[in-house]
Symmetry: D2
Subunit: 353 residues, 4 copies
């Protein structure tokens, strides 16, 4: 009800603020008998961690996850999996400059107005720090939905776009560049652009594309919880996301039905896949693919005008260690949220309705 | 759980197939003491109804709603509002040609695979006929959220785009043209394009833009149910929708943070509104605006190849009366779903958390 | 959220007031492919119907159910099953005497206070008329959970008690007497007592016992939704219910653990069944049994003091046709609610967690 | 869905096994701006803690709660309150004797069958250890619902009953005796009985009564979530509970309507309160009271026959430190669950429907 839970069957509920003692969550609904590879969970967290390369924030977050319940000798028991991640910067005092001033295009103002109180330290609950918990849950979801492969990658950074269709890319080399774009040439240009923008104390937006392969036919729910609607909500819940499209997306607007319709082959596949693997809200067995737009994040290393909590004009100096472009580190988050949606529908599908 | 319900507090659950006896639903969570204008409810339904002009389908659906409970002397009592709309085409026999054949890019194939049975008549449950129930609920939601104004309009049909910013449009003349584009000149071009495509037996996609004005600060929930995430899910649940973006949307990708940040005025408004009225998932008091992409619908008046339920190659002849472009009739549906989201968050906001 | 829905997977949402145009509901979550015996549904409704014998109310309610969706050629399609039952007494004017006066121990006062408005006609939404919708849903649930047998019967009426253990009763003769007590001798005494109380213009309480046989091991959820907790909530949601106990119930208080523990046989059954077929909230394969206490209903055919909506002392004359003892007609309602709980857990159990 | 969450608005989700690293939970939906008395939370936990007196288990559980989020300078921020309690007996090896054998009338057998795996250490998730998390959440709920007073006390232990009506008891002396019965004389007899049963290596059942005072009119939801139905479910979710009755309860069965009806006074109170403060599922402003039956717990200090996980007849020796009668320590749990129900309905009531 309060927005801190995700999923219907395979569910995640999270708690924690950016600079509180710890963040954590409860994964509930994971079936029993799943042998967990604990290293893979930590590995996913490490992909999201700050300081992996010189194009992301150098902030220190160790992000070591502790699994607290629901597992016996490495196997899930069907009971809730509690977990926590300590905040190394707990009690750090780097945020007093925003105690009384609202950062533009951040959540400071709306939280103050809605709740009458806000944890100003690093954005509190509204900080993207919270997405670390999603990555933990997503890493477990990935292990549950065996045979389904989720791959996200950076397809745009500012004005640099990767224009190749995904099946012409070598998705296995994703981690070869710090920008997580599978085309080395385009990746190079993206990195260059990020370095320039960082030097300028500014930020850039980007696009993440995601492919889901191996989905059986029939995942999804009709009417209000269509598979793509749930994917859309999941993506739009990630910090800084401004748009979502799947299959032919916004470009379908200019197409004609006769060209857009995906004609069946005798083996129940389709000749084209403008549908993006989903028809009538249900998976049709073809690859699912979608794109997610991220705005340039609001924290810039420049002086900005703003107002304080009394409505007086004030200003803010950029401070701290922040990402000049959020998409490289958002790749594992997109994958995690995708895994959560698919795991949820995959379990739900065991009850046919 | 099964995808047939929408909302958490102000909720809608629907039933019914395109060619069953009736469609209907239950609106639950509408507070007591709301004096309903029943004519306005029917009026909204009429906006969605087929046969309003010569650019939409001429199919006969009278769409007369009956309110069955929850209202005493025109005032809501706080108990569920049951309602139904009879299907005039009940028992019509126009659909035997698709009994055994899957229509390309429709839900026929996936429903058959998921459920092992499907109501083939007019697409059954997967038909957009179901959206009539959403319009009823949305019309009541609109009356609940007094002071909040929701306006959707057609901003693209195929390659014809309305490029003016919404505050330069006269949104009151929306219903003056059958295409529901508030610029008469652009509307004329859109109508022309739709007529051409209809003659060709083909279909076109389009974009609907929507503005929400008068939203108080603080609507929305943090983390997973951000206001724009709920709006996105609502829009993506509408038949034929392929994409959603709010505020600066996909175009934000190419902007820099220093240009994208919305700087505060002393009165707590912002100088720009790239945020689209939502920050950190909560409304900030500025106008909320978003865009929704609709694909060209799959039913074309042409012969198409396909397969039958045994996987044998077959073909389909286009038949019946269908929309060449769905967006004009989808305008009241976009408004209805928006109203449902806003009503839900508006009520939820009475419990501050 | 608003209390008008039941169940998590196999769900029922209802609408309607006692004297509105109709009552009805939506059954959502029933799997596809279930061949429905429609006559059995109507037959269950007839068991609950007034006027079946001379010991129940002679009020006229025809209770003919119409199934509106979700079924194709008698087989469920996995989409919501909408249904409605017309109210024959719609617009009847027999209730003006309670328009401004609160009936003692009814819901009139609290509804008026909570909602500021109330449908006074026959108690509106708070009337037990609403339970007819539960019987429809329960009748479908019963057909879903093949192999599981639910039998409720009257075990007390006022001071007349049926003291035999259930396995010594012939539960097949349940419908032989209008009081639905399977022991003819005790049934006779109960009927006599009801006739006496009716002549006195008064009412009597009673107890319904219920047995569930054939439940597989493992139904139920741990911690907060234990199987007996869900059964308890279901029973306590029925009008006039004041208490619920399962297995050894309140009598366990005086037992010692050494006598109360159910010792296992080698075949995994237990020698005794004080647990009532449920351990740790999960079914253990033994018979589940519980008892439900009903108060004497509040509508008596006597003059009573009360207050009007302005707080002025007033009085009420008993009027209309009412049940002197509610338990005979409540038997199919107890069975229906039991079937809803079991169907829900039975489906949920397909996802092991 | 999985049974590990409680509440709709003010919610608790818990994790943890008896002998895992820690137990904990997330309280979500607590409004912002509540100044928390942290000592009172720990104090409630201490009331439930083992080893408080010589009539309860001497097991060591320190039960020190850590609040991890959602609080800034002692005031709630409206974000989730994560918390944890370390298990001191983590990795204790006292439970190998039940690794392969099912304890009679425990959850061992059903967990093994349902999940295919079970944390055998101290009963794992099915242990009443989990109720410590409920007490934490309940202690916060109590602080939220200012002006509402919840008092539970022991009214039966085995065959010793407290027969006075609650308004003749001095509920303030509740903590004066370790048995938590507010009548010193009866308390003395209860303690004596518990000591005898402990010496016998056996266990006894009991009854807890609970009174809720100061509830405003109109709390609760109609139809399926009547206030007493939610209270009933809450109580039945507590380990060892076998029955629930409110107001006149099972004794109402033998009453006549004319005697049972609560006649109104001019000030909208009622002369009697057989209704138990709830009519039509909604609070009517009178005291709410109910009774909860607890069975003699299954762990006895005697040798018992049983079967092992292969279905072979085996036996169990009683071991460890256990409660001879659970009700004294269950008093704070009953209060906590009551507080959770009331807080939930109290918040929900802010949205009138």
């Amino acid at each position: 009800m309060s927005g801190n839970s995700f999923g219907k069957i395979f569910t995640l509920k999270t708690y924690g603020e950016s600079h509180g003692r710890m963040i954590g969550g409860i994964i509930d609904g994971c079936p029993s008998g799943l042998k967990l590879n604990l290293k893979k969970i930590q590995k996913e967290l490490n992909r999201r961690k700050p300081g992996q390369s010189n194009i992301v924030t150098q902030r220190k977050e160790d992000d070591k996850v502790s699994l607290l319940s629901g597992i016996l000798d490495g196997v899930t028991t069907g009971t809730p999996i509690g977990f926590s991640i300590e905040n190394l910067n707990y009690k750090e005092n780097d945020y007093h400059h925003i105690h009384k001033v609202y950062r533009p295009s951040h959540a400071d103002f709306v939280y103050e107005k809605k709740y009458g109180i806000r944890d100003y330290r690093g954005g509190g609950r509204s900080s993207a720090r919270e997405t670390a918990t999603r990555v933990v849950a997503g890493a477990i979801a990935k292990q549950l939905i065996k045979g389904i492969k989720i791959t996200a990658f950076v397809s745009s950074v500012g004005s640099i776009h990767l224009n190749k269709p995904y099946h012409k890319l070598n998705l296995y080399c994703l981690e070869d560049t710090p920008v997580r774009c599978p085309d080395p040439l385009v990746a190079g240009k993206m990195i260059e652009q990020i370095k320039i923008i960082r030097k300028a104390g500014d930020t850039l937006g980007g696009v993440i594309s995601c492919i889901i392969q191996g989905v059986p036919v029939g995942l999804g729910r009709p009417i209000f919880n269509k598979l793509h609607a749930d994917l859309g909500e999941a993506m739009l819940s990630i910090n800084a996301v401004k748009g979502f499209e799947y299959g032919s997306g916004f470009s379908s607007v200019q197409m004609r039905g006769s060209a857009h319709n995906d004609i069946f082959n005798a083996n129940e596949t389709t000749k084209t896949n403008f549908s993006g693997g989903i028809q009538g809200g249900l998976s049709n067995g073809m690859d699912i693919y979608f794109r997610v737009a991220f705005k340039p994040i609001a924290t810039i290393m420049r002086k900005q005008n703003s107002i304080d909590i009394k409505g007086k004009i004030s200003y803010l100096e950029g401070r701290g260690r922040h990402d000049p472009c959020v998409v490289p580190r958002a790749v594992p988050i997109v994958e995690a949220m995708t895994a959560l949606v698919i795991a949820d529908h995959w379990l739900l599908n065991k009850i046919i309705f």
